[in-house]
């Protein structure tokens, strides 16, 4: 009885927010504001509570069997193609579901205060609930198609929420950009799905869902030949959703949406969907070294690239946006080197401190009468104490300072990059980490330290935010401090509960693979018995070597960890120092190389402009001038269709000349015809 209740709880985790959205949506004009907001929060709260319930059930299960499934109905059954509407929670989905519903709940509560004066209050909560529904579908879907439903669903909600204040054309454009760039990613995703589907479909038994994660994992060995192709295609989708090079361009523009949206969608949850998808499909990716290498490289480069842009931005939210792109790069880097658990760990910790930072910035913006330019801020430390302290905690966590959350997750990634990826990847990540610390303290200094540079009008209104806004900040700050303690690595004496929890999902992590192969070869080689004896002794030697290796590894881990910490602290102090005491240096840095370097970074390397010039404008011009005017209107319609009509008109005009009503002409024609005919008869005899 109880098992049944737990299973069906899965569907309610996903459906309750949908019901919340439906109620709020249908009654959007009649629902009293307070009730709308509370209803929405309650819906997500229920999701969170149910998630906890199911997770507790998972905890009580055997480590290898941790899976709760809930199949609602078959969706499609066409010959061998079977797809179900169903949900499943394993260790990985558990983490994601808790993060989504938990952080989502906090942000809903925050929005009660933040959006209190907004005319579209009810509409906002409708969309927000809809988003949670879509995101939970994504992480709890039992097959790739359900994931895709959620994938596009969050894209839709992102669109609706970015262009929430659609009276401003720029916001609408930003929403449209987000949707379309994501769609480009989805194009790749679909093709990846097709590759996998057509490869597996002939080999399945009847009724097996070809896109079901369990089934795909079972038949993963068949995917070897197409792993690179499918992996890269799916990754294209991930670059769109998780804002990596080259499809990251929508995320900074997405800051046009209300700040809770930026926190929830563009920091904590939606953008991590790409990472989740790759982690979920780990059994595919480990089959392709090429795909993994590409993912790691793109992640690492993006991490550094975005960090350099964040150095120069003046809009507080833009800094955080580029910071998110950068941090997502780290998560991709982790997945690319096979450290899926580390990537997911960073997803979780990042959700905590990045949401915190965004919500904190929202508090600042709220206080500053909607001002977002940091050059007009300053000295907010005293006026907004809760915001200040929580923001500081978030910053330190992001920078990766012990014992805050970011330290453990980022460190884990850098270590795995070093040991499983190579120095190049590690270096990119390392540099990026320093820049992260630097630009965050730049942000903090400009916002919270020094003298307030706003107008008197604005200064007058500066006040700390209400409890509905500060409570989530405090909770997230606590999580930013303690969240990392779930994953204290072994070399520091911890158990790394996080990695252990996720281990069954990622059975074939790259490093483990090689070891297993080695042992396999030793045990089942051609020499049989002799080898078995040798193997036992080899095992012993192997263990000894492992032990020695281990010690060396640990030393390396300590070295790298300390280096990261030192580097981060350096970045933090330098950032603080320059932007509080030595603004002159900052100004000098801007003027470096005639200001060219600063301009390039400030203008985001002109990537948007390049896309516009190379793709958008020529695309439109070709469509209009060539395809529409020349080919369609001119060639096909003009020449061929109307042309044939004109041809008929011309021919009939010519023929009409014979009908001029003049009798003598008719007679002439008659006579000539007769004469010609007689001539013909005479000649042909």
């Amino acid at each position: 009885m109880e098992t049944h209740a737990v299973e069906t709880a899965l569907r309610w985790i996903v459906l309750v927010p949908l019901i919340g959205a439906a109620v709020n949506g249908l009654l959007v004009r009649r629902m009293p504001r307070r009730i709308a907001g509370l209803l929405a929060c309650a819906a997500v709260g229920v999701s969170f509570a149910l998630s906890v319930k199911v997770v507790l059930r998972l905890v009580g299960m055997d480590a290898e069997q941790r899976l709760v499934t809930d199949t609602l109905a078959p969706w499609l059954g066409l010959g061998p193609l079977h797809v179900n509407i169903g949900f499943a929670m394993d260790q990985l989905s558990a983490v994601m579901a808790l993060v989504v519903s938990g952080v989502g709940f906090l942000i809903h509560v925050y929005s009660l205060g933040y959006m209190a004066h907004d005319a579209g209050y009810n509409r906002f909560f409708t969309y927000l609930n809809l988003f949670i529904f879509a995101m939970l579908t994504l992480v709890l879907g039992e097959n790739l198609l359900m994931l895709f439903v959620g994938w596009e669903g969050v894209g839709l909600c992102s669109y609706l929420l970015i262009s929430f204040w659609f009276n401003d054309e720029a916001n609408a454009a930003a929403g449209k950009k987000a949707f379309i760039v994501n769609r480009i990613g989805d194009f790749g995703f679909l093709l990846g799905m097709f590759v996998i589907g057509t490869t597996l479909l002939p080999e399945l038994h009847h009724g097996e869902g070809v896109f079901s994660f369990q089934v795909m994992r079972e038949y993963a060995h068949l995917l070897g030949p197409v792993a690179t192709l499918a992996g890269l295609l799916l990754f294209v989708g991930a670059t769109g959703k998780s804002a990596q090079i080259p499809l990251y361009i929508w995320l900074p523009d997405a800051m046009a949406g209300p700040t809770p949206v930026s926190a929830l969608i563009h920091a904590a949850t939606m953008v991590t969907a790409g990472v989740y998808m790759i982690a979920r499909m780990n059994f595919l990716y480990v089959l392709s070294e090429t795909a993994m290498a590409v993912i790691a490289a793109v992640g690492a480069v993006t991490a550094l690239f975005a960090a350099t842009i964040a150095l120069t931005q003046n809009d507080i939210k833009k800094v955080l946006a580029y910071s998110t792109v950068s941090q997502l790069g780290y998560m991709m880097l982790a997945c690319g080197v096979g450290a899926f658990a580390a990537g997911i760990f960073h997803v979780m910790t990042h959700a905590f401190f990045k949401a915190l930072l965004f919500l904190g910035s929202g508090s600042v913006i709220h206080a500053m009468s909607n001002e977002q330019d940091m050059r007009l801020m300053g000295g907010l430390r005293k006026k907004l104490p809760v915001t200040w302290w929580t923001f500081l905690i978030g910053t330190v966590a992001l920078a990766g300072v012990f014992p805050f959350a970011g330290f453990f997750s980022k460190d884990e990634i850098l270590w795995k990059a070093w040991s499983q990826g190579g120095i190049g990847l590690w270096l990119l990540g390392f540099l990026g980490a320093g820049l992260t610390a630097f630009y965050m303290m730049r942000l903090v200094s400009l916002t919270f330290f020094g003298e307030n540079r706003a107008s008197d009008e604005v200064k007058h209104h500066i006040h700390e935010s209400p409890a509905t806004m500060t409570m989530p900040l405090v909770i997230l700050a606590v999580l930013s401090l303690t969240g990392g303690w779930l994953g204290i690595p072994h070399f520091m004496g911890g158990q790394n509960h996080f990695e252990t929890w996720l281990e069954p999902v990622f059975h074939q992590e790259a490093a483990g693979h090689h070891e297993a192969d080695l042992v396999q070869e030793l045990e089942h080689g051609a020499l049989g018995e002799t080898v078995a004896v040798l193997a036992t002794s080899a095992h012993v030697t192997h263990d000894v070597i492992e032990g020695l290796d281990h010690a060396g590894e640990e030393a390396m881990e300590w070295t790298l960890a300390s280096a990261s910490l030192a580097w981060a602290l350096l970045g933090l102090s330098l950032g603080t120092w320059i932007y509080t005491k030595r603004q002159g240096l900052a100004a000098a840095g801007q003027r470096f190389a005639g200001g060219a370097l600063h301009r390039v970074l400030l203008n985001k390397y002109y990537v948007d402009e390049m896309y516009e010039a190379a793709i958008l404008r020529p695309g439109y011009a070709v469509s209009e001038r060539v395809l529409f005017r020349t080919v369609d209107a001119g060639l096909i319609d003009g020449l061929l269709v109307n042309g044939s009509a004109i041809l008929v008109a011309i021919v009939s005009a010519l023929l009409r000349l014979f009908q001029n009503g003049r009798l003598r002409f008719y007679a002439w024609v008659f006579a000539s015809g007769a004469a010609g005919f007689i001539l013909y008869l005479t000649v042909s005899g």
Partner: protein
């Protein structure tokens, strides 16, 4: 000189061509009628000549029928022409082009 069949045929041909030329080139419809009569006469000559040459009397019969046809056609044609003249005050055939497209 022996006047044989050939001479009659040449005469008939000349008359036919004269008539045709008249029909095709003259604008006055009365003249066109007269030209048609000349064409009919030329046909009569051909019939009579062949009838005489072959001894078959059918040709002479055809000549008599031709008279009747010519007379009937002239009568009706002139009647129409008179009516047209009353309406259009012209017998110039180029003016009668209401069947034009």
């Amino acid at each position: 000189m022996e006047v044989g069949l050939t001479h009659y045929l040449i005469l008939a041909g000349a008359l036919f061509l004269t008539g045709t030329a008249g029909v095709l080139t003259r604008r006055n419809s009365l003249i066109m009628f007269m030209s048609v009569e000349i064409m009919l006469s030329s046909v009569n000559i051909v019939f009579a000549a062949y009838s005489r040459a072959s001894g078959d009397l059918s040709g002479h019969v055809f000549v008599l029928m031709n008279f009747a046809v010519a007379a009937a056609e002239a009568a009706i044609g002139l009647a129409i022409l008179v009516e047209i003249f009353r309406l259009r005050r012209s017998v110039n055939v180029d003016d009668l082009n209401s069947l034009m497209e």
